[in-house]
Symmetry: C2
Subunit: 336 residues, 2 copies
């Protein structure tokens, strides 16, 4: 017990917590994108929470206050989307340094309201305290028809693994913020927007919740590699992901060229794309892809498949086969 | 708009937020101890959140990890108690430095579980991130019969203002931690416990919710002066508080003597007592006091009354009459 938090890593810490609190007797308990609670007959209440820390999740010199406000709510909306639910009520907790400008706080609330308006969310409470740095905690409630919640554990061997939208754009935006490269202004503004103002896939999640043959669903907050590992692990299965199949936009490729980087690395390990990764029976895939494209204008791409456990969790790239680890971990990467 | 957060103070910041988000169409919206949401016919869902910051709300050299875990949930239980509700589900967000020991985190969870078990709460989710300092955010849900939620705005002129338990003990404990005085070990351990392990008044709140003639209710997190000011302001009324009537325990008085301090100052401005302050029709007071004492063993003391607005909000002490201000404010006191 002399280990430090940085040695354990986030996944081990969360696993330790889950082990302690164990099964809660709720339809979907700790460990999924959101908890599902049986409160009303026929409807499940969803609940999720996320912390954003200045200097870790955002930098005030890179993001305007309203963008921080918008994103802090949007990342929670993405968790509700990954359950197939609709967001409803939010509580906002703010730790603020005394020397912060009141204008920053005002801007933060404006961004928060903009996101709340976009998704029909009511902000019903919160807390405000003094602290040496800005820490934002948002708790978001939502709802979904009873029994319809999407979980990360319901995949079956043979399911296709698919993603909405495209990957790596948020990481491209982060690199542009850190060190602007020789890229077109259209590419720059596109990837910055993807990093600063994520678009949660609420309508796409609702379609998944209403489609037969959907298995596991997760939102990609930490890159496809981590997401695929989490889904396969939660299902107790193996998986193969085909790197060449990952959807990467022309803008992301342009920014990667400008930075001399590999866009597939961003798609696999970059994080913060907030696309949905899900598994679906092969017989349902084509119809589902068309349905989401027609209803939302969002592309859906098959990137791999779930396999029996013995197959391991493997990334296939060209001729090489890499067994996937846990991907990005907050503690190790920041403090390791 | 060049003002800083420390100039505005917490109350102005919160008022500004409330002004922005305005009425939400919920039975009890932002600004009360908890929000009340109409989700199930006949029952209201309650939701509240609190942030605790290391160095502001707790110090790791004064409080053991399990005490921090216990208290971080207990202060939220107190908010649900002040609505007359029962706590149900909690979400826990932790920002942790990488150099923190894993044993601290383990201890924190143990304290959290202990409080959850005490009040029948299920921990259903959370988030864990890296940060330079420990920040704990707890969101707690609860429930109350529809229409029965206690609010801080329902007091009427002529109501008696009363408190449960006794006041100033948590502040006495804080002073003992900061600078141990010449006091008996019984007094020391009593006031330390009151500071470190607050006992939320859930059963007392439930009795208030079931009693006719109850007006405004609030939990005392920031001292009686601030609480009385908040209740009177929320009701749009005046109030008088009689300092000599404030209940202060023999242990608190002993610690105050040992420190050369005035225990009434702690009772008025010390905070963190988590007793309930409520208003009640004078005709109901005696029966209610007996009911709470018989059911819970908790004393109830009349400390003042609500008056028409023109009377102002006044603290009467001996011959002097002091118009009450806003009491303790996090930003000003910490950074002012």
């Amino acid at each position: 017990m002399n280990a430090k938090v940085s040695h354990l890593g986030e996944i081990a810490l969360v696993a330790r917590l889950l082990e302690r609190i164990g099964s809660t007797g709720t339809p979907v308990g700790p460990g999924d994108d959101a908890a599902a609670l049986e409160i009303t007959p026929g409807r499940w209440l969803l609940a999720t929470t996320d912390i954003l820390v200045e200097g870790v999740h955002f930098r005030s010199d890179w993001a305007e206050a309203w963008q921080v406000g918008y994103k802090s709510l949007a990342v929670n909306v993405s968790d509700i989307a990954a359950m197939g639910g609709s967001p409803t009520y939010a509580l906002i907790s703010l730790a603020l340094p005394g020397e912060l400008s009141a204008a920053w706080v005002e801007g933060f609330y404006q961004g928060l309201e903009r996101c709340a308006l976009r998704w029909g969310i009511k902000i019903v409470g919160g807390d405000t305290v003094a602290a040496p740095q800005v820490v934002v905690t948002v708790t978001l409630l939502g709802e979904v028809e009873a029994g319809r919640a999407l979980t990360r554990a319901a995949g079956r061997p043979g399911d296709i693994l698919a993603v909405t939208g495209d990957l790596g754009a948020a990481a491209a935006g982060l690199h542009e913020l850190e060190n602007p490269g020789p890229v077109s202004s259209a590419a720059r503004s596109s990837v910055l927007r993807r990093h600063l103002l994520p678009a949660p896939r609420v309508r796409e999640g609702a379609i998944l919740a209403g489609t037969p043959g959907i298995g596991a669903v997760i939102d990609l907050s930490d890159g496809l590699a981590r997401g695929a590992w989490e889904v396969a692990t939660a299902c107790g299965l193996g998986a193969e992901v085909y790197a060449e199949r990952l959807p990467v936009s022309a803008f992301t490729r342009e920014v990667a060229r400008g930075h001399g980087r590999d866009p597939l690395e961003w798609a696999l390990y970059g994080g913060e794309d907030y696309e949905l990764l899900f598994s679906v029976r092969p017989s349902e895939f084509a119809a589902l892809r068309d349905r989401i494209r027609n209803a939302c204008g969002t592309p859906v791409t098959a990137v791999g498949c779930l396999l029996p456990r013995e197959a391991g969790i493997v990334l296939c790239r060209g001729q090489s086969r890499l067994t996937l680890g846990k991907g990005y971990e907050h503690f190790r990467s920041t403090y390791g």
